[in-house]
Symmetry: C2
Subunit: 325 residues, 2 copies
């Protein structure tokens, strides 16, 4: 049986670029560009809670890093490196290899070197902890508290798919094979909007990633900025598979909840002055990412969502709270 | 029932010093002193694996940060801040409050602000992930690969107590109430040698913290530096309670294993040129920390330990491997 150290050495010791000291010392060391600040975020992912036990290990490796890169994206930071904490019930080499492959593929794509970590045996399920580091100009970082009155509210990509896939896999809504097939990618292989976040840095005011659901995450921006907002349900960009099923598979309240309150999305929600519309559209077009205007920041506190008929929705679906589910 | 966000807000939102952006955004931001590098380390601590289920939450909060600060100490880095990932089976306010108290007390002592993190519900046991950041001159960082031929080998503090306490609590050796009382502090309230590490930076060559046992951790230094070493069992600084029990409670092989291979110690093992002896003794004296010369770095690969009679020990106790136990 391979020991902990052999395991780490074999799968998590790929070379890192110059200027970064990789794993194998008490700490990893890295430098930053003079004048910039370090942006850092950490996420804890637990088996049975954040992922299913039979998840494809390659997608889990991808997603564990993706959800953290998404936090860098939401600050407009450039990725520098990451740390991985890995608690495993047993050493299954094939599993670890595939996990590492998924993790490294995304890390390489964003120049986010794995520079250190911790591996341990878990007596319960698989436990993951990922911490990312990036760098950003402190004056340009996209903070939650920077939304301005009159700002447009934008969201990248499309909404709703991850929530629908997750609820089907969890048995909370009936399984529809075609719909699962179409939505599962969004749940298991989210794309962090790292480049978009960096390019928006000079033009957007506030940003957040939609990890806990649009209403809740936008709510954080509004609360931190001391403003309110209105959203228009008709403007929300639905995942194509959900548009198809609008009048078919899914009850309207399930769809509404998925789009407005579904977490695990990792798109960016941001606010920017109307004067920046052309610039934002140009950036989105260049990157090939949908960027949709979905509402407006206004003075009255709170968040009002207007339905397709133009009426304010009186009962909004609740946000995603890890302790409530 | 309090929600996740209320819980975080209540117990983990103490103000942080200027220049650091605390929790409440997608990332935490911090700056470093120009010319220095960021030193970072992460540890995953799992219930039933790294701590007992009935552990005092205050000591757990202390230790979760201490083991990470110890990694900064072993690089000679100055602490800047930390992130905390907390997975809890349920919200027990008293538990969380005491955990936070223990964590913050040590953080305050070392100017290591809690600047962000992640809280989630765990379906299994308590899961902790702590990541620390420090800063250090890259040319002075105490690396594992820097031991020189002829270096003295030193260790701070005393050895053996944490292992004995842990084995008594786990029922692996007979419970001796007085011995447990005397050794338990070392297991539950380890003191990271943060100030010592920083002061040694200009005088020591290589350093590591004794988290996995003296033989294994010193072995990492030797392997990384391409050298060997000899240690003298007689020179090893035993915890006072173990000296008392030398001819009483504990079988000699249990004691030897505790001192040479017992993990969870968080003392520094370092190498330095003999010319630095007076300086190291002065630093230790000023800080009120024992610093003991225990051996020498030599050319022949491998690690030889001489027993009290001057004979090389032929069967050394194995190191601490998270996957082997």
């Amino acid at each position: 049986m391979a020991t902990e150290f052999e395991l780490i050495k074999r799968f998590f010791s790929r070379p890192v670029s110059a200027g970064l000291l990789g794993g194998g010392d008490d700490c990893a060391l890295f430098g930053i560009t003079p004048g910039l600040q370090v942006a850092t975020s950490t996420d804890l992912l637990l088996e049975g809670r954040h992922f299913f036990s039979d998840v494809d290990p390659r997608s889990l490796g991808h997603k564990a890093l993706a959800v953290n890169l998404s936090d860098l994206a939401a600050m407009g930071a450039r990725p520098l490196g990451c740390l991985l904490g890995l608690g495993l019930p047993a050493i299954e080499e094939a599993w670890v290899k595939q996990f590492a492959d998924g993790f490294y593929a995304l890390a390489d794509q964003h120049g986010c070197a794995l520079i250190g970590g911790d591996t341990t045996r878990s007596l319960q399920g698989i436990t993951l902890s990922v911490t990312v580091f990036g760098e950003v100009e402190p004056t340009l970082a996209l903070r939650r508290n920077a939304a301005q009155l009159g700002d447009d509210i934008w969201v990248s990509g499309v909404l709703g798919a991850a929530d629908i896939a997750c609820r089907m896999l969890a048995g909370e809504i009936p399984l529809d094979a075609a719909l699962l097939q179409a939505t599962r990618q969004a749940l298991e292989w989210p794309t962090p909007r790292v480049e978009l976040g960096q390019q928006l840095r000079s033009y957007a005011h506030a940003a957040i990633d939609v990890s806990d659901g649009l209403l809740q995450d936008l709510g954080h921006i509004l609360a931190a900025s001391g403003v309110g907002a209105e959203l228009h349900e008709q403007a929300l960009p639905l995942h194509p598979a959900l548009i198809d099923s609008l009048e078919q598979t899914l009850p309207p309240e399930v769809l509404r909840r998925a789009v407005l309150a579904g977490g695990d999305v990792y798109e960016l929600c941001l606010t920017a002055a109307p004067a920046q519309r052309a610039m934002l559209e140009k950036i989105a077009q260049t990157l090939g990412i949908a960027l949709t205007r979905i509402g407006t920041v206004h003075k009255e506190p709170g968040l009002v969502v207007y339905d397709r008929a133009g009426h304010a929705i009186t009962e909004l679906p609740g946000g995603f709270d890890h302790f409530r589910i």
